[in-house]
């Protein structure tokens, strides 16, 4: 049994079958990549996992519990974190505050009435947030407003916000999209580091094959909402169906 078990998930948007009978099993402490051409349904699948969308049929089990029908904040509290395709951060707040908020959420749960205590007095959480920012090399920017960050920094910040919660499953939706080469390299290093140091299970959507093949333990190929194959990176590289449906097209 994987930590995440997706079985027979269907999702239609009007006439469009965005997900058709998708099965996916992510094992604990592995990196599972989901690849496929644009519009294959990859983001839709993540939306189902985090409770943003409710599938028409199928089941999604996380750590033995059903995810379906739960609100996004409940699913997040179960230990699923998500990095979005376009970073979702608190643009008006400082970098430090962006990382502090998930720290509070992790410690205090979905809601706590704490209107009199001072954020500055939470030494433990402040330290935790600073260590996290140090790890993603953004500590020097902690007093800056998040909206003033570069695209690469915004992505790194969002990743820090997820990591600081030590999620049991980290979902990444194209974490290197739109990044400069050097930033992509840094992100790969960061993700590898997370993997070895923290052993966080990851499901990653990625277009950059370098990233995929250097990180993933297993790869699922989606095309038009259907899982085409699921296998190890080596097998996938040489799979004729995949070359035809996806890699071939990318290499032209």
């Amino acid at each position: 049994m994987g930590i995440l078990e997706v079985k027979g998930v269907n999702k239609r948007f009007g006439g469009l079958q965005a997900l058709g009978d998708v099965n996916l099993s992510v094992q604990e402490n592995t990196v599972h990549a989901i690849i496929g051409p644009n519009g294959a349904g990859k983001s839709t699948l993540l939306n189902v996992l985090v409770g943003k969308l409710i599938p028409d049929s199928g089941s999604v089990m996380f750590d033995g519990q059903s995810v379906l029908g739960r609100k996004p904040h409940e699913i997040a509290q179960m230990g699923i974190s998500r990095v979005f395709q376009t970073p979702e951060i608190f643009s008006d707040l400082t970098v430090m505050e962006n990382v502090l908020i998930p720290c509070f959420a992790k410690r205090d749960g979905a809601f706590r009435m704490h209107g009199i205590e001072s954020v500055a007095d939470e030494k433990g959480l402040n330290e935790q947030a600073e260590m996290m920012l140090d790890e993603v090399k953004m500590l020097d920017k902690r007093h800056m407003t998040a909206s003033s960050m570069s695209r690469g920094d915004k992505r790194r910040l969002e990743m820090a916000m997820c990591l600081v919660q030590e999620p049991r499953l980290l979902l990444l939706d194209e974490p290197t999209a739109g990044m400069a080469r050097a930033d992509t390299e840094n992100t790969i290093l960061l993700l590898k580091d997370i993997r070895t140091k923290r052993g966080i299970t990851m499901a990653i959507i990625e277009h950059d094959m370098n990233v995929v093949f250097s990180l993933a333990d297993r790869i699922t190929v989606l095309a038009q909402g259907m899982p085409l194959v699921e296998d190890t990176p080596d097998k996938i590289k040489n799979h004729p169906k995949v070359r035809e449906a996806y890699l071939g097209e990318a290499q032209v």
Binding site: V50, K71, P72, H73, E74, A76, Q77, S81, R82, E88, I89, F90, S91, D92, L93, E97, L100, I101, P102, F104, A105, K106, D108, G109, A110, F111, R112, M113, H114, G115, I116, E117, S118, V119, A120, E122, M161, Q165
Partner: protein, 396 residues
């Protein structure tokens, strides 16, 4: 100090001092002088309004300033607070303590219900829902619930009222354990005269406490969460936070502040009417916040003060006073100026307010607080450039 960082503590001390010496500060001109007659604001009835509407604006800012949810019906809680307080006067006694407690509690209860329903929507729909609730409250108070509100006449204390806790020697006006609200001490110094009124000081102490609490909320984890809601609700839920209870808490706290303000209004003058809940009153609260500076600590208090000042001072100026000011000019010039200014004074004070509001929104979207910051920046920049110029004259 007091659990505040040094900057906040300074601001808090400034507010304390201002509130406590307002009767002196607001009477800068000799009482009998022309300027004193027109511009002195240090009389109890007006100062009470400064602090009470300051409390209202501080509370409104906890909702609107932090979360960005614009309630367009906040005056309803003010009105509810006033009714609750007057009922306490009628049923128990003229002691303001039960009246003020009940006004806060009842406004809080209404806020739970109205907030719960209104917060199912956000943005303009939330605003419309709160407006609808407030207008419903107004209509109910005005015509339907007359046994509770005394309708058009307004609710007041009558001789036949139970007042079960009243004993023989008790004052027959609102009082704090015997200290009457309208009791005052007058201090005459040369041409100046200053009035220190008990009621004003009670309200001022509540203002100070309200302001202190609002600083604490702003700097608390909850304040952080509320600002996060304003910034990105999607991210809030994906880090595992439930935005609903946070929003409701902010709404209820802010409704309780309004209830307190309503209770204090009744404590100063033990009668109330439905017009306190009319939508224009709610709109005025929004204008106060924006004028002063949304989301800043001190802004709403400044905004409330400015509006109440204009309302009471500019509306008192008439053509006769203007002619007095311009008496030194040739007649034709005097008349010209009076004709030009006439639309902006007296009943025209709304025009003045409107123009001021537009100017602030266009040129100072951060309100008076931003204006103040700009002025400070200008001074410090001048200093900096002076220093730099002195240092490197030869090079350039």
């Amino acid at each position: 100090m007091l659990g505040l960082n040094s900057r906040d503590f300074k601001l808090f001390i400034i507010v304390c001092i201002m509130a406590l010496v307002a009767p002196v500060l607001l009477n800068p001109f000799p009482t009998e002088s022309a300027l004193g007659q027109s511009f002195n604001a240090g009389y109890p009835a007006l100062m009470q309004r400064f602090v009470i509407f300051g409390i209202l604006a501080i509370g409104f800012n906890i909702l609107f300033g932090l979360t960005g949810f614009l309630s367009f019906g906040h005056a309803a809680f003010l009105g509810i607070g006033s009714y609750a307080a007057v009922w306490m006067f009628k049923l128990l006694s003229y002691n303001v303590v039960p009246a003020i407690i009940l006004s806060v509690v009842v406004a809080g209860l209404f806020a739970v219900v109205i907030g719960y329903v209104s917060l199912r929507r956000s943005g303009i729909y939330f605003s419309i829902l709160t407006l609808a609730f407030a207008q419903m409250a107004y209509q109910l108070a005005y015509s339907v619930l007359t046994p509770l509100t005394n309708g058009e006449t307004g609710l007041q204390v009558y001789n036949g009222d139970p007042q079960i806790l009243m004993s023989a020697g008790d004052p027959t006006v609102p009082h704090f354990f015997g200290i009457t609200m309208n009791g005052q001490t007058q201090l005459d110094l040369g041409g100046w005269s200053f009035t220190f009124q008990n009621g004003y000081y009670l309200a001022a102490i509540f203002l100070i406490a309200s302001f202190y609490l609002s600083i604490r909320i702003f700097r608390s984890p909850m304040g952080l969460m509320l600002r996060a809601i304003k910034s990105n609700q999607t991210r809030m839920s994906y880090v595992g936070l439930n935005t609903k209870p946070y929003m409701l808490a902010a709404f209820v706290i802010s409704g309780m502040y309004a209830g307190l303000a309503g209770g204090l209004l009744a404590a100063m003058d033990p009668l109330t009417g439905a017009e306190r809940m009319f939508w224009t009153a709610s709109g005025e609260i929004v204008v106060m916040s924006i004028l002063g500076g949304v989301g800043t600590l001190i802004g709403p208090v400044l905004g409330a003060g400015l509006i109440k000042y204009l309302e009471n001072i500019v509306s008192k100026i008439n053509d006769g006073i203007l002619h007095n000011w311009f008496a030194f000019m040739p007649d034709w010039m005097d008349n010209l100026f009076v004709t030009l200014i006439h639309p902006f004074i007296g009943k025209g004070w709304h025009l003045t307010l409107g123009l001021l509001f537009m100017a602030v929104v266009i040129f100072l979207p951060g309100g008076l607080v931003q204006g103040g910051q700009k002025i400070m920046d200008m001074f410090s920049r001048n200093k900096n450039t002076d220093a730099k110029d002195g240092a490197k004259t030869p090079a350039e």
